[in-house]
């Protein structure tokens, strides 16, 4: 975690009370986020995971949790890649079918 005073100065315009109120609200929501993320993982809902990660990336950075923000950024990218396989799946599919003897 970054230094609390530095986070307040840079991200909350020096308003320590705003920071504390917001941190407390985030703590309550993080429990719900964890449950939402678990549910999204169970049903392989990559879009919901991406959206959750996108939100948490910014929030954790705001609160000074740079490691958490980095993990959220990685998850956001990973989830997006799973939703949009691009040209990788067509290429792999072509390779698979290349192994299949013609009928």
């Amino acid at each position: 975690m970054r230094d609390r005073q530095a986070v307040i100065a840079e991200n909350f315009d020096g308003d320590g009370e705003l920071y504390e109120d917001y941190l407390n609200a985030c703590r309550a929501q993080f429990a719900r986020d964890a449950a939402a993320g678990d549910a999204a993982c169970q049903r392989a809902d990559h879009r919901s995971l991406q959206r959750l990660a996108h939100s948490l990336k910014g929030v954790l950075a705001l609160l000074g949790d740079e490691d958490g923000a980095a993990d959220a950024a990685t998850l956001e990218t990973t989830a997006a890649a799973l939703m949009n396989p691009g040209d990788v799946w067509p290429r792999l599919r072509a390779r698979l079918l290349a192994h299949v003897p013609a009928a």
């Binding site: 991200n11 705003l18 109120d21 609200a25 985030c26 959206r51 939100s55 990336k57 910014g58 929030v59």
Partner: protein
């Protein structure tokens, strides 16, 4: 949480409230979490929404006082509508405005359809909108509103976590629109709002 009549006969389930308000159940739950709808929980842990709070919301009035300073907007105060599906940013913007601009009446819509309905019926002075929204991106909404100026007189401000590179995909629709990065909300948003209010016809 914890307010409301406490009388199950007078209050609604989240699903009942959602049907009356024409919103998703999750939206109603988030509104209750933010204190916009008075609610409480039964001994079994089931949420109940105050029927009177739902009725007041339907009539267009704000309901439960928000957390924090408890300051209420003055009659005839300035109106801001936020469309953002992130509870975290809904909370931050709510707290920030209550502290810095307590005369502002803020309404929050967690998804585009509810947001557009509120935009039309409530006609806020300023619309704050995120780019990444479920179902329909904010940039498309902004572009449509700008292409049809008769739809709303609200000033537009985009709030976003997207970095400069990722925002490029939406550049066409957002050209010339005030943009406030979510990383600097506490510093940038109050000033951006004051400028928007000053630009009102």
């Amino acid at each position: 949480m914890g307010t409301g009549s406490g009388n199950e006969a007078d209050d609604l389930t989240s699903a009942q409230a959602a049907r009356l308000l024409g919103l998703a159940v999750r939206s109603v739950q988030q509104m209750a979490d933010r204190g916009e709808l008075e609610s409480w929980k039964t001994s079994g842990g089931h949420r109940r929404i105050a029927r009177q709070a739902v009725q007041r919301w339907r009539e267009g009035a704000r309901t439960a006082p928000a957390t924090g300073s408890g300051a209420r907007p003055e009659p005839g105060g300035r109106r801001v509508l936020l469309i953002d599906d992130s509870v975290h940013y809904q909370t931050l913007i709510s707290m920030l405005l209550r502290r810095r601009m307590p005369d502002i009446e803020l309404r929050v819509a967690p998804e585009p359809v509810a947001g557009l309905v509120t935009l039309g019926s409530w006609q806020p002075d300023v619309l704050l909108i995120d780019i990444l929204l479920p179902g329909l991106d904010g940039a498309s909404i902004v572009a449509a509103l700008r292409a049809n100026p008769g739809l709303t007189a609200s000033r537009l401000i985009v709030v976003t976590s997207l970095d400069t590179v990722r925002r490029e995909a939406y550049a066409d629709g957002l050209d010339g629109v005030t943009l406030v990065p979510k990383a600097t909300l506490a510093i940038s948003l109050p000033a951006a709002l004051e400028r928007a209010f000053a630009e009102r016809p």
